[in-house]
Amino acid sequence: MKKHAFMMLVGVVMLTVLAACGGGNGEEASGEVDSTNDEDAEATGGDSDSLTIAGSSAMQPLVGAVAEVYQEENPDASIDVQAGGSGAGLSQVSEGQVDIGNSDLFAEEEDEINADELVDHRVAVVGMGPVVHPDAGVEDLSQDELIDVWRGEITNWSELGGEDQEITLVNRPDSSGTRATFVDFALEGEEPAEGITEDSSNTVRQIVSETPGAIGYLAFSYFDDSISSMSVDGVEPTPENVQTGDFPIWAYQHSYTNGETEGLAQDFLDFMMSDEIQDTLVPEQGYIPVTQMEVERDAEGEETPVE
């Protein structure tokens, strides 16, 4: 029995130590920002051949594909691209855990992130549009009609000249960047009514294609024959219309770094912005090259013509 008591004691001591460590980490993350930055600078300077990228799962295929091409051309470089969500990407890059944090939101939109420390690299643009079940019989909505549908004030497609089918909303989670973009630029900030909620674009597409009367929203790269995409105010959801600024529902894909970068991180971001990538891989992956945008947008959503 004495041995058991001893083991218990050791357990309790270990636990106290663990708890103390946990507390310490929390303080470091909130308070000692400067020291974290220094460590980060040393880490990236000392080991320039490896790069860790994390964040938005929507961006992971694009950044992963670019990293693959980059590593073929620079065999010494080792680039690790993880997906974990935009929030995780922003948190990790501010804490210096990763070199680049991908996000489909402006860092300014997240209260807990100190956006002044982060440098924004806009590497691509993603266009999104409302999609409906092919049998709904409606392919063009005015923005006001779209808002009424999403606020739950129009509940049947027949009210809009379509089939007599009840409308089922397919939403994204509250915290999703895709949802934020759709709410800001398609619904003019109106919060959508409750509906089915799914995170993955593939699942949203499957639900919309299988549920009669369903409406959701997807990035252009997920458009296919199983669903019909909708025009808004008569403007078709195409990359060309996004580039000219006629189609309003789009967002930047941001790669954030903690302070100005040099070495591999900068070289990789330059490579990402090169015509070689922007004109081939970016459109191939279903994104719109940021270099060809005729309008630009700031964190408040204000749109201005380029140059």
Binding site: G11, L18, D111, D174, E194, G195, T203
Partner: protein, 307 residues
């Protein structure tokens, strides 16, 4: 007598040949380390989750009363509200309803396997059920999404994404667990019970109903509770079929959400330390507390087991 020697003395000669000085002590170190690490891991998870989960209340200033009793959930709005009652209800509803469905089915199948057709049951049914246990939950979710949801939509009504779909998918998932553990409980009963009952002239049904089931009740309840423990933690499969709507369901055909689905849908999008992120940890802490309660119930029933 040779057999009365202690194990350590019997192994004396063998131990000299081994290169390690004292295998008796080495073995002890290995198993003690294993036991210690298991305890530390459990305690560390609990402490970490408690620390993170309680942050909602003391750092983000969320009213615990509101958290547990309000159905108003909008963490990302301008005036955020954090009422998690819908998800707590959703998790409990799915868990309890599936336990009610599965208990008679699982125990019935176990009786068939152990009492009615023991040889056939062991050769065919047991392996089949063990395979069912091993099927990954995403498969159950995917089948639910493509088969069950359209079936409910066409045959029963609603959009198909519903509490009912969640309950059915989880029931199918925990059925093999409950069946296997119930069969073990029945197999553990001493054969003398059966023989004595038959010797007294009882029929097979009387033996099962009056002797075996009452004797096995603690074991059978343990089986059901362990099934519930699996049900409450299930996220992926439920997320695909329950709709994840932040509304209290008015009927079995309405969509709703559970604690696990809200965590998985939002975790990646939120930044560490934000109130939005903290409330997800709090939901995790509640899940852990529920599974602790379930495990304690199992221990209590185990202590009551007389045979």
């Amino acid at each position: 007598m040779e057999t009365n020697l202690r194990a350590s003395e019997r192994l004396v000669r063998k131990s000299r040949k081994l290169s390690l000085k004292n295998p008796e002590r080495n073995g002890k170190i290995v198993v003690y380390t294993a036991a210690f690490l298991t305890v530390v891991a459990t305690l560390a998870v609990t402490v970490f989750l408690a620390q993170r989960g309680l942050q909602s209340f003391y750092m983000s200033d969320i009213n615990p009363l509101e958290f547990f009793t309000s159905t108003n959930w909008n963490p990302s709005g301008d005036n955020p509200t954090y009422g998690a009652l819908i998800f707590i209800f959703g998790s409990l509803a799915v868990t309890l309803a599936s336990a009610v469905i599965v208990a008679p089915l699982g125990i019935g199948a176990a009786i068939f396997m152990t009492e009615i057709a023991p040889s056939w049951g062991k050769k065919v049914l047991q392996p089949v059920i063990e395979i069912l246990v091993g099927i990954p939950s995403v498969i159950y979710g995917y089948i639910g999404l493509t088969v069950l949801v359209p079936f409910i939509r066409e045959q029963v009504g609603g959009s198909g994404y519903s509490l009912m779909a969640g309950i059915v998918v989880v029931s199918v998932m925990i059925l093999p667990t409950v069946t296997t553990l119930s069969a073990d409980a029945l197999n553990r009963l001493p054969n003398g019970l059966r023989s004595s009952s038959y010797a007294l002239g009882a029929t097979r049904w009387q033996t099962i109903r009056r002797v075996l089931l009452p004797a096995a009740i603690p074991g059978l309840l343990t089986a059901v509770i362990l099934g519930m423990a699996r049900a409450i933690g299930e996220a992926l499969a439920i997320q695909m079929v329950i709709g994840n709507t932040e509304l209290l369901p008015g009927s079995l055909l309405d969509p709703t959400a559970t604690m696990t689905t809200i965590i998985t849908l939002n975790m990646g999008h939120t930044t560490f330390g934000s109130a939005e992120n903290n409330v997800l940890w709090t939901l995790g802490l509640i899940l852990l507390a529920i599974s602790y309660l379930l495990v304690m119930a199992v221990r209590f029933l185990g202590a009551r087991r007389k045979i």
